[in-house]
């Protein structure tokens, strides 16, 4: 359960760096590091300077990417290997393999534990990792994986929500109108997702996960976006606030703009959250931050809190349809929670760029696996 908000992605902004006219963004640390590395590399190449230090950097980079691949493979291969043995046609009165019933809950516990660590270190929600990985590499049906994924994301949001609200980082006035739209559409998404054939949902899930990878690779963030004037709707609803930014040692008076457009975007986000059982933090934050202009910390915290409402509505649809198997739900929640606790302790020593690339690698792999699984069941592959 990703009960910790990761602000490591917040750009290192100083008052001097913060431009007056509208800072599009100062990218976050690891991205800045990578960009600088490439700029330096290209610059050096163009002048024909091939120094030993560069060679070492290149080797280091390649080794890092290799390690990412290895970790992905090691993390996922046992589940994949056993999953391929188990997925079979299931008769109405199923055959019982009673001896090893505990095997899958135990593997689920271990994998979700690792997932909890990665989610905290990578600054992503548990749900976005849970659904593609568990549906791709475990024998559980997608219906139950989505139901469990929503509960995983919901519990993460419930655990983080109270603290964020009390600290006034999650803003109730910003969340309430968004939640009305997102939770309504999450219900529609859940109903559509449960009515569609599994292979179609799996195919769309794979496409969505690959889209999330693209967003993670390209999306920028803005610590304090420039909002020249609040729009009429946000003024009427008094969506604004004040928070203290310690990196600048000043109180930030924030407001939002483009509220109607932002709310309209949450129609799609809510729908996708309900349909795939994904937490929607990956989409909430860019919309709140870049489109509506809420400060990054307010956006991240409000997004996390928002999931407790959006996922509640979709979770009820899955619960009422019977998509809850306690033997899946409880080990997943325990695993994610314990992993999150360990992840928080590892935050100080973890290497952000490695973790970020590992999350992207895992999601890419899981997204392709979901598409492969769907296309295979459709007879295309």
């Amino acid at each position: 359960m990703d009960s910790t908000i990761d602000f490591r992605d917040t750009p290192l902004t100083t008052p001097g760096m913060h431009r007056a006219g509208g800072d599009e963004t100062t990218s976050h640390n690891q991205r800045q590091h990578i960009d600088l590395f490439y700029i330096y590399h290209i610059y050096s190449m163009s002048f024909g300077i091939e120094e030993e230090t560069q060679m070492l950097e290149k080797i280091k980079k390649k080794a890092e990417m290799f390690m990412v691949s290895i970790v992905c493979a090691v993390l996922l291969s046992p589940a994949w290997a056993v999953a391929s043995e188990v997925i079979t046609e299931v008769p109405m009165v199923p055959e019982v393999d009673g001896a090893g019933w505990w095997k899958w809950p135990l593997i689920l516990l271990v994998v979700t534990f690792v997932m909890g660590i990665i989610a905290v270190l990578g600054g992503v929600g548990g749900g976005v990792l849970f659904v593609p990985i568990i549906s791709g590499f475990f024998p559980f049906h997608l219906d139950f994986v989505r139901g469990t994924g929503l509960l995983v994301a919901l519990c993460g949001a419930l655990a983080a929500g109270p603290g964020l609200l009390k600290a006034n980082l999650a803003n109730l006035r910003l969340a309430l109108p968004v939640a009305l739209i997102a939770s309504t559409m999450a219900i529609v998404g859940a109903m559509v997702g449960l009515a569609l054939p599994t292979h179609i949902v799996q195919l769309c899930l794979g496409g969505t996960i690959l889209g999330i990878v693209a967003i993670m690779l390209s999306a920028k963030k803005s610590t304090i976006p420039d909002v020249p004037a609040a729009d009429n709707l946000s003024s009427a609803l008094r969506i604004c606030g004040i928070y203290h930014e310690p990196t600048m040692n000043q109180d930030i008076n924030w407001k939002v703009h483009r509220t109607p457009l932002g709310l309209a975007t949450f129609i799609i986000i809510g729908f996708m959250a309900g349909m795939f059982g994904l937490g929607a933090g990956w989409a909430n934050v860019p919309v709140l931050n870049l489109m509506m202009g809420a400060p990054l910390k307010i956006s991240v915290a409000t997004s996390k809190f928002l999931l407790s409402i959006t996922d509640t509505s979709a979770a009820w649809i899955y619960v009422n349809k019977g998509c809850v198997i306690p033997m899946m739900v409880v080990p997943s929640l325990i695993g994610i929670m314990l992993g999150s606790f360990v992840g928080v302790r590892l935050l100080k020593v973890a290497k952000p760029s490695f973790i970020r690339w590992m999350v992207i690698g895992i999601l890419l792999f899981a997204g392709l696996k979901a598409m492969h699984k769907a296309l295979t069941s459709m007879g295309i592959l």
């Binding site: 009673g98 024998p139 054939p197």
Partner: protein, 147 residues
């Protein structure tokens, strides 16, 4: 209406307090109910050694198979049917899930009177509308058909 300050509003703090209590209650109960289930203290509908044969089915087939093999009821157990089976280890685990999924509705209903009392009618109506939608989702009235 209240001034905008650095501090969280009264509604926000009330919401946070209820959410926190509900979250802790739900999670604590989940550990207890799962222990009762997994250690065999309460007999489940689907025996532990058979559950792995069911979780790879689509939910419609799963419910039909469970009903056909164990429950023998007129209809497969959907919606709030789990309430009548709380004596079974597996269905008892629906109780903490319902608490975790339901606490947000309570939070919403708790802050509505304060919003109206302070003249914040727009937010009051938004809260009320969301609470109605969440309650409808929880009621099972708007759940669509499975496949």
């Amino acid at each position: 209406m209240s001034e905008i300050t650095k501090e969280a509003t009264q509604e926000q703090l009330l919401y946070a307090a209820i959410l926190e209590k509900g979250m802790f209650a739900g999670l604590a109960l989940m550990f207890v109910t799962f222990a009762l289930y997994v250690f065999g203290i309460l007999e489940p509908v689907i025996p532990l050694d058979q559950v792995s044969a069911y979780w790879n089915m689509p939910v419609g087939d799963y419910l039909a198979a469970m009903n056909s093999n164990f429950l023998h009821q007129a209809h497969a157990p959907t919606g709030w049917a789990w309430l009548s089976m709380l004596g079974k280890g597996d269905f008892l685990n629906f109780l903490p899930v319902a608490i975790l999924s339901g606490v947000t509705i309570v939070c919403y209903l708790a802050i509505v009177p304060g919003l109206f009392a302070r003249g914040d009618k727009a937010m009051g109506f938004i809260c009320l509308a969301t609470a109605v939608i969440l309650t409808l989702a929880a009621s099972g009235l708007i759940a669509g058909g499975g496949h």
